[in-house]
């Protein structure tokens, strides 16, 4: 598969922090990923990963308050697709989040809480920059090289 990519292209979406807007975000991510040259499976992975990050923002950073914003920036260059999700909410300590023990997780029949673990599985890189109440950034990267293998 050969895709002709321009040097660099950026996209930005800003929506109120409401769960009903997750669909708008998902569709924006999926379409942009397809346009960038990913196949539908890969685009769906990025979509799911961003959905998880944004759900976390709505539920935890903003604690379901709907008068805040989520900002999503996409930057595409020749080798990678980078998504940054920015909020002004509560923030968290990424070091405190441990990878779950899946046996225990399933034994307890828990729901949710797998967001970050899921993102790390779906994307090539996930990193955080947390300044609680000011700006929290989740940055996720997916490389195109996997497509050429």
């Amino acid at each position: 598969m050969i895709t002709l990519r321009k040097k660099r292209e950026t996209f930005q979406l800003k929506v109120p922090s409401e769960t009903k807007n997750l669909e708008i975000i998902r569709s924006f991510i999926y379409r942009t990923a397809i346009k960038a040259g990913f196949d539908s499976e890969c685009a769906s992975r990025i979509e799911l990963s961003v959905d998880e990050a944004c759900s976390n923002v709505i539920k935890h950073a903003y604690q379901m308050k709907t008068d805040n914003f989520i900002e999503i920036n996409i930057s595409i260059d020749k080798e990678k697709f980078v998504v940054t999700i920015i909020d002004q909410g509560k923030g968290f300590n990424p070091e405190k989040i441990e990878l779950p023990d899946m046996m225990e997780y399933l034994a307890e029949l828990r729901v949710g809480g797998l967001g970050i673990y899921l993102m790390k599985t779906l994307m090539d890189e996930v990193e955080y920059d947390i300044i609680p109440g000011k700006k929290n950034i989740v940055r996720m990267v997916k490389y195109f090289y996997a497509l050429e293998e």
Binding site: I24, S27, F28, R31, T32
Partner: protein
């Protein structure tokens, strides 16, 4: 009481291949805000026309510039602003087309603003060439004639 206002923003480069992203975004926001699919399609088409004009005329096909679409959903209306930093135009110089003449000449395009006017309830322009051009489009949740009238007309 604080006025109900929900703001959405999409910023993409001025490439006609991004019109699909813009259309889907506008349609999604309109339907989530309570517009019928028919009305959401009208808003989508109006915004598509405005953005096509930006790509073709304001930026003359230059793909590296930016189009910004700001949507503000209020209690009774949706306001969509399409912003660019391109060439601009004089809204007063745009004449309503003579459709007979138009069809005779097999012209394509050029009906953008007239289409927008027929699809939306209000349209306004703020033009500062090269600095910031804005096309502001408004659609009310209910047609205003129905809203102000006490009775709904029955067919």
């Amino acid at each position: 009481m604080k006025r109900y206002s929900k703001k959405y923003k999409l910023k993409v480069s001025s490439d006609s291949s991004n019109l699909e992203l813009i259309r889907k975004f506008v349609f999604d926001v309109a339907t989530k805000s309570g517009f019928s699919i028919e009305d959401a399609n009208k808003i989508e088409l109006a915004v598509d026309e405005a953005c096509s004009n930006v790509v073709k005329h304001a930026y003359r096909g230059e793909e590296k510039e930016t189009i910004e679409i700001d949507v503000n959903v209020q209690e009774d209306r949706i306001i969509v602003k399409v912003k660019d930093k391109g060439k601009g135009f004089n809204p007063q110089s745009i004449q309503p087309p003579d459709m007979v003449e138009y069809l005779k000449q097999y012209k394509m395009g050029g009906l953008g603003i007239h289409i927008i006017k027929s699809l939306m309830d209000e349209i306004d322009f703020k033009i500062k060439p090269g600095i910031k051009n804005e096309v502001i489009m408004v659609k009310f949740f209910q047609p205003r004639s129905e809203k102000s009238g006490k009775r709904k007309t029955t067919k």
